[in-house]
């Protein structure tokens, strides 16, 4: 039988996509390091705080139903102005996916394939992303269903294995909040709230395609809370294993922590297997940003989004290489500039700007609907 024209993803798939999206690169590079031993608290706080923007996104979408962010912009702002904004968003989405891809490339090159050039990793990975998006969003959803158990399972397994290896030291986490709530808030805002939680803005492109749109918002928020807690747990495990100093210094704290696992002289170097899990998270993240951008291109250039996949995938691979000279630059950009200059306007600025227009337009549409 024929493939449905409108792609749909089920709520389970949406839940998994949101969680994997949040784990994505956050679990690779480690988040909230500045809050020292309290980074896990910072993650929880950021997670709870970011319920507000996520709720706001779903609220915005619910005003004009069955339209994604870009379509809403087109309806609300008109064809010409909306195109400018959409192009900016496309750039944003592509830039962020290039950043995420770079995170992953650094991880593979730094830990697994020491002699392989990073561009090969970028290109092969983008080829896969292109393939799966070519097959469609539905396929991405089902694909994630298969890998989700491994993702969740191994994140918990890390903690348990570390516990059995006697590497978890609770003294590393103590004392809790020695300098009050100040440093925690400093980490939450702007770093944590924009990365990873604020990036959920990309889901404004996906949510309208959920099979039960009414529950999509709730599912997203539920997934956000669950994965926030898991991220906090993972962060806790990292601190307890490495201590706050080592965690801050380490390039990939989770991998460094799993490197400590050693059981019966047999289960060692589990970190290489963890990469498998990380790869899945990265894949979801890159794909969703990429998909968002592609949908935008579809709207702006009036061509099916599948036509753009391969060329744009190559651009992202290229971008991920020229984006920065080295890993240090990549990370420092990520901490000092990207949250303010890149994330903020797109995650909060433009949606807030849209808000009054959307409300107005929704009212107009509603009254028009009544007249008919």
């Amino acid at each position: 039988m024929q493939r449905e024209l409108v792609e749909k993803i089920s709520l389970t798939q949406l839940f998994i996509l949101v969680s994997a999206f949040l784990f994505g690169s956050a679990i690779v590079v480690g988040i909230g390091g500045e809050a020292k031993q309290d980074s896990w608290i910072a993650v929880i706080v950021a997670c709870l705080l970011s319920i507000i923007p996520v709720w706001f996104y779903t609220f915005l979408l619910s005003r004009i139903p069955e339209k994604n962010l870009f379509e809403i912009m087109e309806i609300v702002l008109g064809k010409v102005i909306s195109k400018v904004f959409i192009l900016l968003y496309i750039l944003y989405f592509f830039y962020v996916s290039a950043r995420v891809l770079r995170d992953f490339g650094e991880l593979i090159v730094g830990d697994m394939l020491v002699n392989t050039p990073i561009e090969v990793i970028s290109i092969t990975f983008m080829l896969f992303v292109a393939y799966i998006l070519y097959l469609g969003l539905e396929v991405l959803g089902r694909f994630s269903e298969i890998y989700a158990p491994y993702l969740m399972g191994s994140i918990f397994a890390i903690g348990i294995l570390l516990l059995f290896s006697r590497e978890l030291h609770v003294k590393n986490v103590m004392p809790i909040l020695p300098e009050g709530i100040g440093p925690v808030i400093g980490t939450v805002f702007p770093e944590l709230i924009t990365f990873p939680f604020g990036e959920l803005v990309a889901f404004m492109m996906i949510l309208p395609y959920a099979s039960k749109v009414r529950y999509a918002g709730k599912t997203t928020i539920f997934a956000l809370i669950v994965s926030g807690l898991i991220l906090a747990y993972s962060s806790f495990v990292q601190i307890a294993t490495l201590g706050p100093e080592a965690k801050l210094r380490s390039k990939f704290p989770l991998l460094t922590a799993t490197g400590e696992i050693s059981l019966w002289d047999f289960i060692e170097r589990v970190d290489l297997i963890i990469i498998f899990v990380v790869m899945f998270g990265i894949l979801v993240k890159v794909s969703i940003f990429f998909y968002g951008g592609l949908k935008g291109l579809e709207l702006v250039f009036n061509r099916p989004y599948r036509a753009f996949i391969y060329p744009m995938a190559m651009i992202i691979a290229f971008m991920s290489i020229i984006i920065s000279k080295n890993f240090a630059e990549h990370i420092s950009e990520g901490i000092s500039m990207v949250p303010w200059i890149i994330h903020f306007p797109f995650q909060f600025g433009i949606p807030l700007l849209l808000f009054p227009f959307v409300l107005w337009k929704a009212k107009v549409l509603k009254s028009e609907g009544k007249k008919r």
């Binding site: 830039y95 290109i123 291109l297 250039f301 290229f318």
Partner: protein, 76 residues
């Protein structure tokens, strides 16, 4: 259209990255451009640029195919 999109996105995203680098390193625009586009010693330029060029050719090809299709639909 795909080609236009390709060129546009390529240029603007490179610009974006350069602007950020300018800010970070306090260099002038052209210095950063030069600095960004000369790749690290370990990086293999051929692979990077080959990939990019295949992307360009793919977009040419896609455009060609779509325009052909369109004209055929108009005729019929």
């Amino acid at each position: 259209m795909v080609t236009i999109a390709f060129v546009f996105i390529l240029i603007s995203s490179t610009l974006l990255s350069i602007l950020l680098d300018m800010h970070l390193y306090n260099l002038s625009f052209f210095q950063t451009l030069h600095f960004s586009l000369t790749l690290d010693a370990g990086t293999r330029e051929t692979i990077v640029f080959t990939a990019l060029i295949t992307g360009l050719f793919a977009s040419f090809f896609l455009d060609y195919r779509m325009s052909k299709k369109e004209s055929r639909e108009k005729r019929s």
